[in-house]
């Protein structure tokens, strides 16, 4: 369970997050959608302990990220891209992350296989395409086989096969009892995989609920998105 409770973050007089509240429940895929600059990544950064909010709280299973002694056992996160040094080989990048939690080398090769990067294990990350870098980031998130997955814009750079793979992965995770929080600025794509949607714009949650609840009263997904996230729509 992910709980975001009245999260506010102001920076140099500018409000980045304005009392953001929502929940991502277990056995559900929660889509977190909004235009670029809406506050999606900022919310996730606060949730993952990378940024301290001005007020409010973001917890995973009732705990702050920084309070987890072995966070990767419980939470896997990919914040866009590989998060790796360009000169490092993929297997070495995953190797040090795995070592931080005592996961063996076998697990590294398992996740590389799972994300379709086994053939590129010994390649340097700087030779990766955008899609491969995304997959490496997701591989890092999967290392601990966590029950909570937080993925920021995971479909960026993925081809249709990759997008279908992500859809299958997150669906299976949720069906197995896990919690999945998936952010994107592409509502149409999220709606095909998410059970619940949280729409954010200008640092504020504009709507939340099941996909059908959020879309209700609008002509369709696109209409709902523009109605909720633009000044004209509101």
């Amino acid at each position: 369970m992910i709980d975001i409770d009245q999260l506010t973050w102001t920076l140099r007089g500018r409000t980045i997050l304005d009392h953001v509240s929502f929940r991502a429940a277990p056995r559900r895929v929660t889509g977190f959608v909004g235009p670029n600059g809406a506050g999606k990544s900022s919310t996730l950064r606060v949730l993952l302990g990378l940024q301290t909010p001005t007020s409010g709280e973001a917890t995973i299973s009732k705990r702050r990220y920084r309070d987890f002694g072995r966070p990767l056992d419980h939470i896997g996160a990919s914040l866009g891209g590989a998060g790796a040094h360009p000169s490092r080989r993929a297997v070495d990048h995953l190797g040090w992350v795995a070592a931080s939690h005592g996961y063996g080398r076998a697990r590294v090769h398992e996740v590389l296989e799972q994300v379709g990067l086994a053939h590129a294990a010994k390649a340097r990350v700087r030779t990766f395409s955008l899609g491969m870098a995304q997959r490496l980031g997701i591989a890092t998130a999967l290392l601990g086989d966590p029950e909570v997955l937080v993925l920021d814009e995971p479909i960026n750079g993925l081809d249709p096969e990759g997008i279908r793979w992500i859809r299958t992965l997150v669906r299976r995770r949720a069906d197995d009892g896990g919690t999945v929080l998936l952010s994107s600025h592409v509502m149409a794509e999220l709606a095909t995989v998410a059970d619940d949607l949280v729409v954010i714009s200008g640092g504020r949650v504009r709507a939340s609920g099941t996909v059908s609840e959020v879309v209700a009263g609008h002509g369709g997904l696109e209409e709902a998105f523009f109605a909720l996230t633009t000044e004209e729509g509101r």
Binding site: A84, S87, G137
Partner: protein, 257 residues
């Protein structure tokens, strides 16, 4: 904590730049010593170029100090590598975020990184000192240059000088989150000229600056009544290291990643 240490060790040794610089720091001074010692011995034996036994006694010492530039580079690289970004075409992003996700407690994470830096730098400092000294003494034996208390004290001071320079590089880079300025400054300081050392001509206080206090560990006694002893220089250098590391600790725990 063991997992954090393992992770930091793997991060360090899987970076080719760090590996190569450590090896260069251990070996190149000895090679330079070999060339210089042979030329110096020839000069001393033939009475050309004004070589004295005092000059010969410095062979091996001066060359080994170049390893300080290598360790400064390693210290900077260990930290700055965390902020090296992938290209925009690859989605951008940098390793520091992954580190923060895997090791959310930043204090222990920083402590582990500094400890790994120390574990890598000590063997290089000791090796380069021993190797350069062994080469110098082997070649200069006909001139009666051998082990003495002064040379051993010089080696110990040299080791501390190299290690402290490397740790200073790592600490300053942690504070600045960029390796460019500390890399350029420390490498130039250890190879070409030292701005702090030049400042001692203007003010005695310059002897107590971070880089000058380090140099005070290894430079010969000069005609400057304000020049502190090597012990005092060593203590001042240690003090500066503690201050910069403390600043790095406070900032790392509070700043966003």
């Amino acid at each position: 904590m063991m997992g954090v240490l393992r992770a930091e060790i793997l991060k360090a040794v899987t970076l080719a730049g760090v590996r190569h610089t450590l090896i260069a720091g251990a070996v190149i001074p000895a090679l330079l010593t070999w060339f210089n010692a042979r030329a110096a011995l020839r000069g001393w034996q033939t009475g050309t170029d004004g070589w004295t036994t005092q000059d010969l006694a410095q062979i091996g010492v001066t060359e080994s100090l170049l390893a300080a530039a290598a360790l400064a580079a390693v210290g900077v690289m260990l930290v700055s590598s965390e902020y090296r970004e992938l290209s925009v075409d690859q989605g951008g992003g940098y390793e520091r975020v992954t580190t923060a996700l895997a090791i959310p407690r930043r204090g222990p994470g920083l402590a582990a990184k500094m400890l790994v830096a120390l574990l890598l730098m000590v063997p290089v400092a000791v090796t380069t000192n021993l190797l350069s000294t062994a080469v110098a003494l082997w070649i200069l034996e006909p001139a009666g240059i051998g082990w003495d208390r002064e040379r051993i004290a010089g080696m110990l001071a040299g080791c501390w000088y190299m290690i402290a320079t490397g740790l200073l590089g790592a600490s300053v880079t942690t504070v600045l989150r960029s390796g460019l300025v500390p890399m350029v400054y420390l490498v130039v300081n250890n190879t070409l000229f030292s701005p702090g050392f030049l400042l001692t001509r203007l003010t005695a206080a310059a002897w107590y600056l971070p880089d000058t206090s380090l140099i005070g560990l290894v430079v010969a006694r000069m005609d400057d009544p304000h020049q502190p002893t090597k012990v005092v220089s060593g203590l001042v250098a240690a003090g500066w290291l503690v201050v910069v590391m403390a600043v790095a600790w406070v900032l790392e725990r509070r700043r966003p990643v």
